[in-house]
Assembly symmetry: C4
Homo-oligomer: 114 residues x 4
């Protein structure tokens, strides 16, 4: 199958800090090693308001590192992410947190379901 | 199912360091994308004493980033965490370790069971 | 079951750096939420020599954060770790890499099998 | 089985920074605890071009920490990685991102399939 159709990442957060030109951000990384384009709906869940959604596509045999800070999601606000794909894919979420005096990364593969 | 009912995180530790107003902490991030409120019991296991527990709820369609340093768990003491939910959820545990000269993050999705 | 009997961590490495009293290290964190003591054999696999092993126990209802730099494993040498337990447990491996000018953490839940 | 035959890592990226002699890099760590040599084909998927591949072997009872920055993959270019092995293995991907003023690690176990 080369993946799963649903992926979950509970710890989402786009930090507010920046250092020079580099802004803190998260990347939702998606790989589609199958022969069909993956059409993906991404849901953002919050602590205190209703979910938002966004759609992307990943062509066959391609990677996509989607910058989550460019989709209109508020910075400095905790959220969780669920993504639903028309075809099996694999997803990983990474965060870069930078500021005047720090620069740190964290990452995890997601929780998956068919 | 959109998740699992039991989640496990063996590496729990609330570091003692702080930098200015920012204190080291851990966040247990929980997402509930289903239609029922998730009632969750969190167990803290230690190396040298009996477990402690704490209860939270996550409403349907919501995220919760639970600060573990505000629950009365001792700082600087290794522990492990298990969480049991009445309905399927997904969990991720992240740690921020800061001090006068450092600021670092780490994260992982949990181990899950039904 | 509250866990699995076998856990695998391919990226093992005890860095050589230290900062003051703090030495780089890895912690293999094990949680046993069941009612029997977990007897665990840990195997270290190397790139260029035969495996080494070490045994630990984790009592029922307890956590153990095992410092891997205190077991006689050489520093600065890549390895992989497999752990076999008599009863189901959950494991996570974390690394602290420190030096004069850096202090960084990384972690992952392991790969598991029955 | 002591592993799985296919492993997936969506967030691949070899950063451009270096500090002194230390260059940013990624390590694909592979462990083979079985009795047969694992013959592994690694596929690199990109956002804007066709995949590349590379082959390695891991002998029985051995670890391999494969430096991905020494295989001809371009630096500073997002990618995703899939590895297919003739026999079950376990894989973890770690990134070291260094620069004049930063040094940070991140890691995750992969997504696996038979
Ligand atoms: Mg990490
Ligand atoms: Mg990190
Ligand atoms: Mg990390
Ligand atoms: Mg991680």
């Amino acid at each position: 199958m080369n993946g799963a159709k649903r992926w979950f990442f509970p710890d989402g957060y786009i930090p507010c800090g920046k250092r020079g030109y580099l802004a803190s951000h998260e990347s939702l990384c998606i790989m589609n090693v199958n022969k069909e384009t993956a059409k993906i709906k991404i849901w953002f869940f919050f602590e205190d308001r209703d979910p938002l959604s966004h759609e992307v596509e990943v062509p066959p045999g391609r990677s996509l590192h989607l910058r989550l800070d460019k989709l209109g999601i508020p910075r400095c606000k905790p959220y969780s992410l669920m993504a639903e794909s028309t075809t099996p894919v694999v997803m990983q979420l990474s965060r870069l947190d930078v500021g005047k005096e720090h620069h740190t990364l964290m990452t995890t593969i997601g929780y998956w379901e068919e």
